[in-house]
């Protein structure tokens, strides 16, 4: 049985001072985790902001959770089922982690004190911040702040979760922990995960959308994207100047990603990152790898 569509975008266009951030995008999302990949400026954050109802498109139609958020009532109905972690999120200076998430819970209409506090403790525990919840947010590390931001997005187990680079600055152990949290969320909710971490997408997502210059370059299963790189990744003793990308690995071999097999090379299994590099070509190199 096909899961109900929770996000429907038709002809979404957004321009900033003449620069097209999104160019007539058509996308639909169902429950599950979808990764959004793309170089800086590809339109990922703009897309999430539009779905989060904090930015209006210049053209096109947005339907979220079966509603068109065009009136205050419809907007409120959608937002009640929405969890959003923006790419950049500041925190008021005086707030503790608990205080901030509690404030956000009030904004999300948790008016009764006891259940609200229980819920705040639950989401802080989910992101492993229970022990530092009483510390001021400004004293927390960058990774911990990202987790505070994620915690508020998890409040109430929303049906639609929009996460813009949630694992940036998070240490590997916490990243694995967060993957568990997100994978559970993806069992019942629609989770859109914008990230530069291809390994997160490979580990978590059953679908990936690659955006570039405001357009969808790929939309499909993660393994289908990986399959596009099959037979185009080699390990060799030397870098191949003709390769799209080449780097020395920890084993001393050079991983060459390109169309032609370097001499004396052996073919190897591609990763999502290889496929992404091949899909976007030089643009991916200049914006992702080089960065």
């Amino acid at each position: 049985m096909t899961a109900a569509t929770t996000v429907e975008l038709t002809g979404i266009t957004k321009k900033y001072r003449g620069t097209t951030a999104l160019d007539a995008i058509d996308l639909a999302f169902q429950p599950g985790i979808t990764g959004l990949l793309g170089p800086n400026g590809a339109g990922k954050t703009t897309l999430l902001r539009i779905i989060a109802t904090v930015l209006s498109p210049d053209a096109g139609e947005v339907r979220l959770l079966g509603r068109t958020p065009a009136t205050p009532d419809e907007l409120a109905q959608v937002r009640r089922q929405l969890g959003y972690q923006p790419q950049e999120m500041g925190f008021p200076r005086a707030f503790t982690g608990f205080g901030f998430v509690d404030y956000m819970a009030v904004l999300k209409e948790w008016t009764a004190r006891a259940p609200r506090h229980n819920e705040v403790r639950r989401v802080l525990d989910l992101v492993d911040l229970g022990e530092v919840a009483t510390k001021r947010v400004r004293t927390l590390s960058g990774g911990q702040r990202r987790r505070v931001a994620l915690a508020q997005a998890l409040l109430g187990d929303p049906h639609l979760m929009l996460l813009d680079e949630p694992t940036t600055g998070v240490d590997p152990e916490q990243r694995v922990s967060l993957r568990q949290v997100l994978s559970r969320a993806g069992e019942r909710s629609t989770v859109l995960l914008s990230t530069h971490q291809t390994e997160d997408v490979a580990a978590l997502c059953d679908r990936v959308v690659v955006l570039d210059q405001g357009r969808v370059r790929f939309d499909g299963a993660v393994q289908d994207l990986v399959a596009t790189a099959a037979g185009r990744v080699w390990l060799a003793d030397a870098p191949d100047p003709a390769a799209r990308a080449s780097w020395r690995t920890g084993t001393g071999k050079h991983r060459n990603v390109g169309e032609v097999a370097p001499s004396g090379s052996e073919r190897t299994e591609p990763t999502l990152e290889d496929a992404y590099l091949l899909l976007l070509g030089d643009r991916a190199l200049t914006t992702e790898v080089a960065a």
Binding site: A52, V54, G90, V106, L107
Partner: protein, 297 residues
Amino acid sequence: MTTLVQRAEAPARDATLRTLAGVEARRYARHPLFLIGVALMVLVEVSIANGLASGTGDAQLLLVSDGTTVPAFFLGVLGVFVGYRLTRSMARAGEAVEASPADGVTRTAALCLACLVPGAVAMVWLAWNYVAMAVWPGPYSGAISSTNHAAMLSAGVVYAVGGPLFGVMVGRWTRFPGAGLVASVVLVGWALLSTSGLLMSPSRIGTLVHLNAPFTTWVSSDSPTAASWVAGGSPVWYLVYVTLLCGVGASAAMLHEAWGAQRSRLVRIWAVLVVLALVSLALAAASDPARILLPRG
């Protein structure tokens, strides 16, 4: 397996507003500038009480009609900063806040309700004034009618609420750093300019110049050695005027976040309040401009 969160149906907007207003009120009450203002106000009032106990005439004069400057400054002017900072502070969390079901009007209304915190402190100040007047009745007490006297003192409470409301409004409509400071300077400058009305000979124009400011003092003197006097005009209508200005500020703040039918409704409310405020100011200035002499002693 996913943890299912037990949650009741979405509560009424009023319940969210009440809860949010409580949170904002606690944030206001804990703000360092507010606490400093209250501490300084207590110090001034203790000093006045000492003056009253020792029978100093100036202390009685301050208590009778000019004491409104105490809450006006320590709660009102400092409150501009507090209201502004509270409003802007959540802007750091920007889009996460914006994407919540509590819309901008509700969030702003909660901030406006939190401005009742300094008002509550000013009510205590008002009560203290009445107690002090009962304990240490001064030679000026009978010079002003009790209604006008009550209106003058009550204005102190309105100043304490109005300053923070102005700060919330500035916080909603401006984004540049230092806007709170600029707003305070504008407010104080407006109040100081209005005192030029006290330098004019008693007239309705002079009264209008004096009373148009949202903060004002009622007592002045032609020279340090001359008798003091209470300015002309109607303190009662002035009280109505500054109260309506609070409504103008609050509705203007909420207007920033409103859209659709809600915005149209708020625009109408704002326009009605502006008209009523102007009418009240006109009535305040239209009253007898004659001054009441308060012989020094």
